[in-house]
Symmetry: C2
Subunit: 351 residues, 2 copies
């Protein structure tokens, strides 16, 4: 297995050198652009006092009854469907914690995002906002969610997302990892993308992702998931056998434990696990492959023990260095996307 | 003026009958798909106690310092740029209160939304989420926003959005207006799109919209705004003279008072104001043209007094009946979009 992986790496590296990092910037022929919500259920709130609200300056003062029926637990999907997809299955993009589908739309320094890359490469793309993130909307707390939201300060990204070793409010005093690829001069622009998150909503998020795949992708799909999205992606594939045709886990967390969960339902689908650079900084307590103990190595071994098809890529081993937790925003984001695209082609996921 | 308007209406009606309601469903040639944030500023929160957070089940328990630097007041823009636009300027879509750009993406019964319609008609489309809505993200309260969010119960739409006269939790007991066009059988799907809103953020929303137009549309743009977005659109045009080349106000509210605000800066740009049906139900206290007294009639007259170019369309007068506050989701949404498209062509906004 190890030898096969190394040969694959070398082949991949040759492909990257031979074909360059971009599938082209020509116009694409698009059949449909849109968005929809799915999942969730009605929740009724009762016995709250009537509010007095003036929605608009100079507008009427209205009595608003905050009681009534609300939808809670739905998620949001934005889609771009090509006239002629070159891939066999639509590509679902699932973001990480405290973020939304914007993760894949643009980079903080204004280059095209992975959504554009994979459209150019011939995939129908479904870019999702998990429950309580972005356009999915969120529900009242403590009435519906049981906890308060957590807001991520700008500083937390520096160490945890592996941009550098020392954060300071003064940008001139921040110390970045030598050779790191995140456009740190645009950290404020990345911070604009942050959304609050709850720690009590994993069940709702999982249920909506499952409903999405079960109802909308009966013909199959490939899921590309980042960070927090990784665990949801694996569990969605386990819960919807036959409907997830490939799993691409980018700096993921939250893998199921193969000692407790039977991984057989996903043994026949190709699984790619991709890691960036700077994994061994002792200051980092989260968002690297060791943060969760041996969670992912154990998951990969457990799946291989079931004759699963796992490709484990440490980008630095491929000679692709300097990548942070936010691979899709790093300056070489297209190069990393090309590694993923080449893997999909090799796995037979393209037409 | 009145006679001219009536002749224009008749011409428009003939055009609608002659050419049908759709600019065609052929594939479109797309140059770029993406999204970005703009506006806002850094806000520092201090002296809050450290939180203990477990982000993921089985994940590490982390100490999270909730103090630090946050971005607040930014907005979000999703864009689709055509290879060859047929319009002279990009079209900005601004949603109403308690909603996001999803308003324009799909209808609750799953038909293509106005975003797709105007792409098909040849416009580059920039579909926006205002500050604190959807992908724009929102900030802590009461630390940053001074008030609590308002959540709209499903029931509130029934009367206020002019779907009908009697709401009941039991769908079978709801009374819709005879001939109304909203797909009321999909009310739950519409409710999934609702997001909380604050009543204390108008200044932040306005500032971000102004920055968007000032920085990104120096070559001009056309703004199509719904409901709460209408007032922001007029004020953005007033604040950015020469950059807004046309205003399309769909069931708008929040117009400036011409006795207090000089409307001269927008006297040379065409302004379209569109109203749906069922305007005279005494139970309705908001979201119809009379809800704000004579706000819009006064605005229109005030602009005409400055030799402004106002087109005032009551759709029932054109023979287009049954439209609710949510025109872009009504069953005849393409027909209403075509009225707007024909107006843009007549005003010289197409190439």
């Amino acid at each position: 297995m190890r030898l096969m992986q190394k040969l694959f790496f070398i082949a991949l590296l040759c492909a990257v050198i031979a074909f360059g990092a971009s599938p082209g910037n020509a116009a694409i022929s698009v059949k449909a652009v849109g968005g929809f919500h799915i999942g969730g259920k009605e929740v009724v709130i009762k016995d709250m006092p009537v509010q007095v609200v003036q929605y608009t300056k100079n507008g009427p003062i209205e009595k608003v009854d905050p009681n009534g029926e609300f939808m809670a637990g739905q998620m949001y999907v934005q889609y771009v469907q090509l006239e002629k997809a070159l891939s066999k299955y639509p590509l679902l993009l699932w973001h990480g914690g405290g973020l939304t589908g914007v993760t894949y739309e643009d980079t903080p320094d204004g280059r095209p995002g992975w959504q554009q890359f994979f459209l150019n490469a011939g995939h129908d793309v479904y870019n999702c906002d998990a429950v309580e993130r972005g356009r999915a909307s969120w529900a009242k707390y403590p009435e519906i969610y049981t906890t308060s939201p957590v807001f991520r300060p700008k500083s937390q990204t520096w160490l945890n997302f592996r941009f550098g070793t020392e954060y300071n409010e003064d940008p001139a005093k921040r110390v970045a990892h030598p050779g790191q690829q995140f456009p740190v001069e645009h950290l404020d622009q990345f911070t604009r993308q942050f959304v609050p998150r709850w720690t009590s909503t994993d069940g709702l998020i999982m249920a909506a992702y499952n409903e999405l795949i079960d109802k909308k992708f009966t013909g199959g799909c490939v899921v590309l998931a980042h960070s927090q999205g990784g665990g949801f992606a694996i569990n969605a594939a386990l819960a919807n056998p036959g409907k997830v045709k490939g799993l691409i886990l980018v700096e993921p967390n939250g893998a199921p434990d193969p000692d407790k969960v039977d991984l057989s339902p996903i043994k026949d689908i190709p699984v790619l696990i991709v890691w960036g650079d700077y994994q061994n900084n002792p200051k980092i307590t989260a968002w690297n492959k060791a943060a969760y103990g041996d969670l992912y190595p154990k998951f990969a071994k457990g799946l291989e023990a079931k004759n699963g098809k796992v490709t484990w890529i440490d980008l630095p081993e491929l000679g692709i260095k300097g990548n942070t937790h936010m691979l899709m925003m790093d300056k070489n984001s297209d190069q990393v996307a090309q590694v993923i695209q080449d893997w999909m082609a090799k796995q037979g996921l393209m037409r």
